[in-house]
Symmetry: D2
Subunit: 287 residues, 4 copies
C-alpha cells in the first residue's frame, strides 16, 4: 500500500534491517548523531579569517553547538565568486574548534584533497552538488572519518540512500545524512525543505539524518521555525549557518543568523527537543 | 536581501499590514484558527455512510479534534472513481458533527452548490485543484461562511495569497490557508509538504494557516511526525484524515489513520504544541 | 520495459485502441485537428476591442491561420487584473471570425456560461487552471461543441488523459489536447514546454494534440523555434498569441507576436510541416 | 520585458557579445558543432566489448553519424551496477572510431583521469551529475580538447552557462552544451526534454548546443520525434544512444535505438534539417 514501504533489494548496507540497531556516529569531542543528545552543527558558510571563525566558534559553543561548520573549499556557481581559503581555512577551522571544545565538519570537493581535509576535520562533508560525484564518494568511503552526506538538489530519497550505499560499500559505515532542501518551482524560498525525508529515511535506513534549515529556506527569518520543525520531525541534529555580521558574509549572508539570533534559537529549541524525546547538548564555556 | 520580504503592492487585503492584528477565524462550536488553542480538523476523506461518519466523529472528538472533515463532493482524477454521496453526505456530516459537538468543514466543487453546502457546513473548503477556480472563489467569497483555502498542487506562495485575495475582495474575510504539499519529482511521498510555507505566510499575511500532513505525505506512517513538525513550525491547526478501517476506505486509505493511531498522535502533540506556545483543544466526551 | 507503455485499464475511451483510427476534429470553416492539414489557431490573449480583434483576425487569416483565438473570460492570478470583456467579447470574436472566414476557440471558466459561450464559439477551451475542474468538464462534456483541453500546470500525462476521459464519458468525443508547458524550477522561461508529450499522447490515445509555444515559453523570441519544434514532434496544430501591439496588450504581451512576426513564422513553417508529412492551411484573403 | 533577456554581467566569456561570431567546435575527423553541417553523435551508453562497439560504429557511421559516443567510465546511481570497462573501454572506443572514420566523445568522471581520457578521446564529456563538479570543470578546462557539457539534472540555464564559464575561464574555449532533459514531476518519461533551452542558449551565448533525445525521454519510441523537434528548434547536433541489442544492453536499454531504427531516423531527418537551414553529415562507407 505504501509507496517506498521498504527499499528494493538493490540496497544492501543502508537498509534498516541491515544491522541490529540504529547507527550512532560519534565525533572526538563527544558530539554524536543518532543518540539522545542532538548534534548541533553551527558556523559560517565560509571560513573568512581567524577572527571571524574564532568569534563564531566561541559564540555558537556558548549557545550549545557542539560541532563547528565552515567551508574552506567552496563549490560556487560562478567561477568569479569567492572560492574559499583552502588549506589555510582548514587550519583556522581546526584551531577555532580546538579552542572551544568543538568538533569540525567541513566540505571536501576534490578526491585529491580527501587526505588533507581528513587531517584537519573530524567529519567530511559531501555537498549537495557532489552527492552523485561517485569518484569523491569512493575516495571518502576509503577514509576513516565520519561523513556528512547532503542530499542532492533534486535527488530522490532512493538516490540519496544509494549514494550512502557507495560510502558503506567502500567500508565507511559512519555516515550521517543531511536534508537541506530540494529544488522547487517557487522562488519564494531558496530551496524547499523536505522534512518528511527525516521520518522516511528513519523508516528505511539505520542511518542518522539531520536538517539544514539555512540552505533549506535561504531566509534567516525562517531558520528558527524550520529548525524547530526539523527536531519535531525526529531529526538527529541541525546544521545552522551563523556569522558575526551576515550582511558582510562572503557567501550565504541572507540565510545566516547573528550570534544573538542563534542564542535565541537554541534557547527556544529545548522544549521542542524534549517533546521529541531528545535533548540539546550542554553549552560549552568559552576558553 | 530577502526573497519575497514583503508582498508586492498588487496585494491589498491579505497583507500583514492590511489590518492591525492577526485574523482569528471562529467556528460555531468554539473552534478557532489563529488563537492560542489550535484547530484540529479530523475525519475521513469521503463520507461513506452514517455508521462510518458517526463512529469517526465520536472517536476523533474523544481524542480532542474539534472540527469534523469529510467529503461529500469529491474531485477525483478518474471519472470512474467514487465521486462522493453529494447532498446526502452533507446531511450525514452535519448530524454526526452535531451529535459530538463538532463544527463541519467540507469541500465545495461547483459554484452552484455553494448555497447548499453553506447550509450544512460551518466552513467551506476550496480544494487544491480549485485554488485558481476563480468562478468558485468569487462565489465562495460571497458566502457568509469561513473558508479553508488549500494550496494548489504547484501554486507559489504568491499565487496562493492572491487566491485568498479573491475571497477577501469579494467580502469574505474569514479565510484560513491550508498547506497540503506540493508536487515534486520524488514519488517516495504523494506530495512534498512545504512546512516553510507556514512561517512564510505568517510573515507576509495576517491570515491563519494550518497543515494537512495526510495529503502532504500520502503515507500514514509519516502523518504523526509531520503533524508535530507542522505545529513546531507555527501552524494554527491540523487537518488529518482518520477512518474506521483505512484499507477499506473509498479514497485515501494509505494516508488515513485508524482511531487508535489518531488518539496516540493527539496524546503526543501536547508537548510540541506547548513548545510552540499553543494548546490542543479539550477532548469532547462522547454523546 | 517502457514507462507508461500503455494506459492502465482505468482509461476506457481515450485509449488508442478504443477506436479504429485516430480522431479528427472538424470545425465549421473547414479547419480540422488530426488530419493532414494542420490547425493554426492565432489571436490575442484577451479580446480588447472590435478594432483590435478585427485587425488581428484579418492579419492572422492572411498569414494562414484558420482558427481565431481570444479570451472573453480571463482567469487571472490577481483579482485586480483585467478580467476580460465577457459576453461582449464573445460577440466581437464571433464577428471578427465570420468576417475573415475563421472558426472561433475561446475559454469558458464557469459551468453556468457554457451555453452562452457555446452559442458564439465553435470550440470551447478548458484552460490550464481548470483541467481538473470536474464540474466544468462535465458541463462541457454535455455540450455539442468541440473542446480544446489544455494541460494543467503540473498535470501528468495520465491526469491529462483522465481529464479528457471525463469529457468523453459525458458524451463529447470531439476533444483536442493542447500542450502549453508545465511548471519548472527555472524561471528563465514562463513554463517548460514538454514537446515529448506530443508523440507520447499520440502513442497512448487516438486524440489530436496541438502545441502552444506562446504560453509554453512566455517569450516572443522563442515562439518561432518552438512552433517549428512542435510540428516536427508531430503536433496536429499550433496555438499562437498575436497582438497588434504586444507592449500595449492587456495580458501576455511579452509572449505575443506582432502581425509581421506571425507572418514570418508562418512563412518558415511550410518546410518543417512538409518534413512532418503535413501542410499548413491555405491563407484566406482579407474580406 | 523578457525574462533573462540578457545574461547578467557576472558572465564574461560565454555571453553572446563576448566574441564576434558564433563558436564552431571542430573535431579531427571533420565533424563540427555550430556550422551548417550538423554533428551526429551516436553509440551505446556503455562500451561493453570490442564486437559491440565496432558493430555499432560501423552501423552508425553508415547511417551518417560522425562522432562515436560510448561510456568507459559510467556514473551509476547504484554501486552494484555495471561501472564501465575503464581504460580498456577507452581503447576499444578509439579503435572502433578510427576504423570507421569517426571522432570519439566519452565521459570523464575523475579529475585524475582527464589526461588518460584526453589521450584516447577527441572530446571530453562532462556528464549531468558532474555539471557542478567544479574540480572536474577546472581540470577539463586545462585540457586542450573540446568539451561536451551536459546540463545538470535540475540546472537552470544560468547555472549551466556559468558551468561553461568555468571551462572558458580556465582557457578552454571549445565548449559544446548538451540539453538532455531535466527532472520533472511526471514519471511518464525519464526526464523532461527542454527544447526551448536550444534557442534560449543561442540567444544568450555564442556556444553551440546539441540535444540528447535518448536521455531526454528515456523511451526509444520518443527518440525519433524528439530528435526531429530538436533540429527544428535549431540544435547544432544530436546525441543518440544506439545499441546492437537494446534489451541486452548493460545500461539504458529502454532508450536505445537498434541499428535499423537509427538508420530510419537518419533517413527522416534530412528534411527537417533542411527546413532548419542545416544538413546532416554524409554517411561514411564501412571500412
Amino acid at each position: 500500500m505504501d509507496r517506498l514501504a521498504a527499499l528494493p533489494n538493490t540496497y544492501k548496507l543502508v537498509r534498516r534491517d541491515a544491522r541490529a540497531g540504529r547507527t550512532i556516529v560519534q565525533l572526538p569531542n563527544g558530539a554524536s548523531f543518532g543518540g539522545e543528545v542532538l548534534a548541533i552543527c553551527a558556523g559560517p558558510c565560509s571560513v573568512e579569517s581567524r577572527e571571524q571563525i574564532e568569534a563564531t566558534a566561541q559564540a555558537v559553543a556558548a549557545s550549545g553547538a557542539n560541532v563547528l561548520r565552515g567551508g574552506a573549499y567552496k563549490p560556487r556557481t560562478s567561477p568569479y565568486a569567492f572560492q574559499g581559503l583552502g588549506a589555510e581555512g582548514l587550519k583556522l577551522l581546526r584551531d577555532a574548534a580546538d579552542r572551544f571544545g568543538m568538533s569540525v565538519v567541513t566540505e571536501v570537493l576534490d578526491p585529491r584533497d580527501v587526505e588533507l581535509v581528513a587531517k584537519h576535520a573530524d567529519m567530511l562533508q559531501i555537498g549537495t552538488r557532489n552527492m552523485q560525484n561517485f569518484t569523491l564518494l569512493r575516495e571518502v568511503g576509503d577514509a576513516r572519518k565520519p561523513v556528512l552526506l547532503k542530499r542532492g538538489l533534486s535527488a530522490t530519497i532512493e538516490e540519496w540512500l544509494l549514494a550512502a550505499e557507495y560510502l558503506l560499500v567502500a567500508g565507511n559505515a559512519e555516515v550521517v545524512l543531511c536534508e537541506r532542501g530540494v529544488r522547487s518551482f517557487d522562488s519564494a524560498t531558496r530551496n524547499l525543505l523536505d522534512l518528511a525525508a527525516v521520518p522516511l529515511v528513519h523508516s528505511l535506513s539505520h542511518l542518522p539524518v539531520i536538517v539544514d534549515p539555512s540552505h533549506g529556506t535561504g531566509l534567516a527569518k525562517l531558520v528558527a521555525p524550520m529548525a524547530a520543525a526539523g527536531l519535531a520531525a525526529g531529526a538527529d541534529g541541525l546544521l545552522v549557518e551563523v556569522h558575526p555580521d551576515p550582511p558582510a558574509a562572503a557567501s550565504d549572508g541572507p540565510q545566516s543568523l547573528t550570534f544573538e539570533q542563534f542564542e535565541t534559537l537554541m534557547g527556544r529549541l529545548h522544549a521542542v527537543a524534549a517533546a521529541a524525546g531528545r535533548q540539546l547538548p550542554s553549552a560549552t564555556l568559552a576558553a
